[in-house]
Amino acid sequence: MSSLRMPAPDQAVLARRAEIIAALRAILPSANVIDAQNEMKVYESDAFTAYRQMPMVVALPETTEQVARILRYCSDQKIRVVPRGAGTGLSGGALPLADGITLGLSKLNRVLEIDFNNRAVRVQPGVTNLAITKAVEHAGFYYAPDPSSQIACTIGGNVAENSGGVHCLKYGVTTNNLLGLEVVTLDGEIITLGGKYLDSEPYDLMGLMAGSEGLLGVVTEVTVRILQKPAIARAVLLGFSDNESAGACVSRIIAEGIIPGGLEMMDRPAIHAVEAFVKAGYPLDVEALLIVELDGPSVEVDELLERVLPLARACGAVYERTSSSEAERIKFWAGRKNAFPAIGRLSPDYLCMDGTIPRRALPQVLKRMRELGEHYGLGVANVFHAGDGNLHPLIMYDADKPGELDRAEKFGADILKLCVAVGGVLTGEHGVGIEKRDLMPEMFSEDDLKQQQRVKCAFDPEALLNPGKVFPHLHRCAELGRVHVHRGETRFPDLPRF
């Protein structure tokens, strides 16, 4: 393990392991409680593989009631729980705890209801993102947020991370596409938030759940809205001889009032890695490549193309190719969507960063990133959700070489600090997890973080649900709850009154 520390395991709980396993077997079918070391191995990390930890035991419930019984048991017995979907998370959100139960939701994998008239689908949390689209595409519908991991990642994990995708500039991230949730809180209460209708009475707890990284409750049902597929979509590849011009082009398109369905950018190392892996037909002699996807009725797509292409030329595009068939469009995207595995082929290990920056800071950030790469002696490739400023620098390292992980982590931290310094944030879509936990003070003051933790206390006063994630310091709820009054001498002194 490298620098990040997890909460110390509770020896008293570890000593009761056999009893805890037996209790879980009283709630679940025996096979759904996994306690053999070799069988638990697949659960020892998520896709943030730099950190690994065997759980105490893995429980795989099949019903909401089982989830509720397990959580009530954990809350009564003061046992820590880590929810887990498919384990594709990139920030270590599902990293197990040595004294914790890993609660896998993968067996809750049924599509419960498809309601075309209300344009809603209700599913269990273990259903994969892509399976929702698969379930409705025969009727021309789809579920819009499309993380590149969509074949594998679960909708429960998407809710927990508030995941995005390459089409979220126009169609929103997970939270914007949710209608309802069923959530089990640590005390075993089953709570329904929303349904097939819009908005809620105060407070918007569904909005709070999205992106809460499995720290507030376990999601046991999700209702999403589905959309009708656009009539057509066409993608354009635009190559530039420097990052500045590509960045300027993105800004020009948006300033022109065009919000493309997708607006992605790759830098030279990423283009080369991807092209070698996927043969997507990308040009190799450019510094930056944009993929601009326009969708809608064909007259609209034609009109927007007529506007985007001259803009791109005016910004200095040196390469331009418009997809002429659906197959070609999909090929353009296949490159981008396989960027992570493509880097994975070039380097034994890589860290995927996820900061967001104001777009205009892009050239400055990329330049500094190259300097940092030289400083740390590590390669970095960039894929970038350019429309919304979400960067994915992929830092290449070799975990077998002593000190490289350490250097990679420092490099990553420097990049994220840079993102914050230029007015951006630590994470655009992958979550804080453990990966960015200790960087939270870069963005938030002690008071900011305390206020967030008070919200956690409202759900989980004993910090049993996924502790050690998101927050660098765990404060006790009793201490956080105290009201501090620093009263002066007079009552309401010197305030303007009317």
């Binding site: 097939k196 407070y203 400023g389």
Partner: protein, 401 residues
């Protein structure tokens, strides 16, 4: 009762510290236009945030705008219009409906009440465009959440929690909002003479098409007759309306396709279309109506069943927005909220809120949808997390809130 109008963070902090120390309750206001929303409450003092005013940052190409919480919405809209941008969720101006004037609301108030207009079905609600906030909690502590970029998952999304919190959790000082390009062209396709069920069926058909509908409403004849748009007012029957926005050629093409699909009658072009949807957004049909006004959100298909059932409760007028899922209903104050909410429950759930009622009515009945015990418990603990001494808008949501 004193009205405090802090001019800066320092004065606001002082005010809250003293309120906390002396257990004095505050009626938190932006510019006061939505005072009539929510339960009627009695507080010791008023905290007027109109002194926190002005746009502090506007970056059209980054799609963000930052403003002090008391900034008039009208000022923000003027700035956006100059760059052909807008708040895509079409914030409602309930001023006239609540017996005040139009165009006076603040951006903080807009978020605090999460009021979103007809484009809600396509573009999301106010909460979906609320990117960042700086605020003082009821603990008199300043905190911030979110950021100033459009994509961010760093920490809990407290903006969602503050949107729709009606000033009961904290006092916002600064907000960051996502802005979007305004559509080039707008048209509305009208279908006449359908009953509520058939009207919503037409909306459903349109929304299930690939034509990117940006608003879908059904006005029964009595409501349509109140429009200032002559095509609608003089229809002499119900009007079902579907809005299409985008580049000019695309809009013309999609309208054509919709008219074929729906066997539609007429079209409203830019100006009329704009007026028509502003009227629905601001609940104009019920502004001069003496009755109480409710806002009910259900699954879109369930709208007509609720509407028809409500009409059975007495002298009730209803119209539908959000593809059938949002009902605005005018009814006599005597109608029991239990009866109204029973209809919502009967169709599988949703929420009903009394939006306009006199203070007596807002004192006596649950203005917001009552919550089941487990959820109510969580709501209470969230309130404790921000405002444990209950100094901010106490009782605005529920008697013990």
């Amino acid at each position: 009762m004193t009205t405090f109008r802090p001019a800066n963070e320092h004065e606001l902090g002082d005010c809250l510290t003293h309120a906390l120390a002396d257990k004095q309750t505050l009626d938190v206001r932006g510019r006061g236009t939505k005072r009539g929303l929510g339960r009627d409450m009695q507080t010791d003092h008023v905290l007027d945030m109109s002194g926190f005013s002005g746009i502090t940052l506007y970056e059209p190409e980054e799609l963000i705008l930052q403003a002090r919480a008391g900034t008039p919405l009208a000022e923000i809209e003027t700035a956006l219009t100059a760059h052909k941008q807008e708040l895509a969720f079409e914030p409602c101006d309930l001023g006239p409906l609540l017996r005040g004037v139009a165009g006076e609301g603040s951006v903080g108030g807009m978020f605090a009440c999460n009021l979103s207009g007809p484009r809600r079905i396509k573009a999301g609600a106010a909460r979906d465009h609320f990117l960042g906030v700086t605020a003082y909690s009821g603990r008199a502590e300043m905190f911030k959440a979110g950021g100033r970029v459009v994509k961010n998952v760093t920490g809990y999304d407290l903006c969602k929690l503050l949107a729709n919190s009606y000033g009961t959790l904290c006092v916002m000082t600064d907000v960051t909002v996502k802005v979007l390009p305004a559509a080039e062209k707008t048209r509305t396709v009208l279908v006449f003479g359908l009953d509520d069920t058939a009207g919503v069926a037409v909306l459903t058909k349109a929304l299930a098409s690939a034509h990117e509908i940006s608003a879908a409403a059904h006005l029964p004849a009595d409501v349509a007759g109140r429009s200032s748009v002559s095509h609608v007012r003089n229809a002499g029957t119900s009007v079902t309306a579907i809005r299409v926005e985008g580049p000019a050629r695309s809009v013309a093409h999609r309208c054509e396709a919709l008219r074929k699909l729906l066997g539609a009658g007429e079209e409203l072009h830019s100006q009329n279309s704009k007026v028509f949807w502003c009227e629905l957004r601001d609940v104009h049909p019920f502004v001069d109506d003496p009755r109480a006004v409710w806002r009910i959100s259900v699954a879109p298909q369930a709208g007509p069943a609720v509407g028809v059932a409500l009409k059975g409760l007495g002298d009730v007028s209803v119209f539908y927005d959000w593809g059938g899922g949002l009902l605005w209903a005018a009814m006599l104050p005597g109608v029991s909220p239990l009866d109204i909410r029973a209809e919502v429950t009967a169709v599988g759930g949703g929420h009903a809120m009394l939006v306009r009622g006199d203070s007596e009515l807002r004192k006596t009945i649950p203005v917001f949808e009552p919550q089941k015990p487990a959820l109510a418990g969580l709501t209470r603990r969230i309130k404790d997390a921000f405002d444990p001494q209950r100094i901010l808008n106490p009782g605005r949501l529920a008697p013990d809130s």
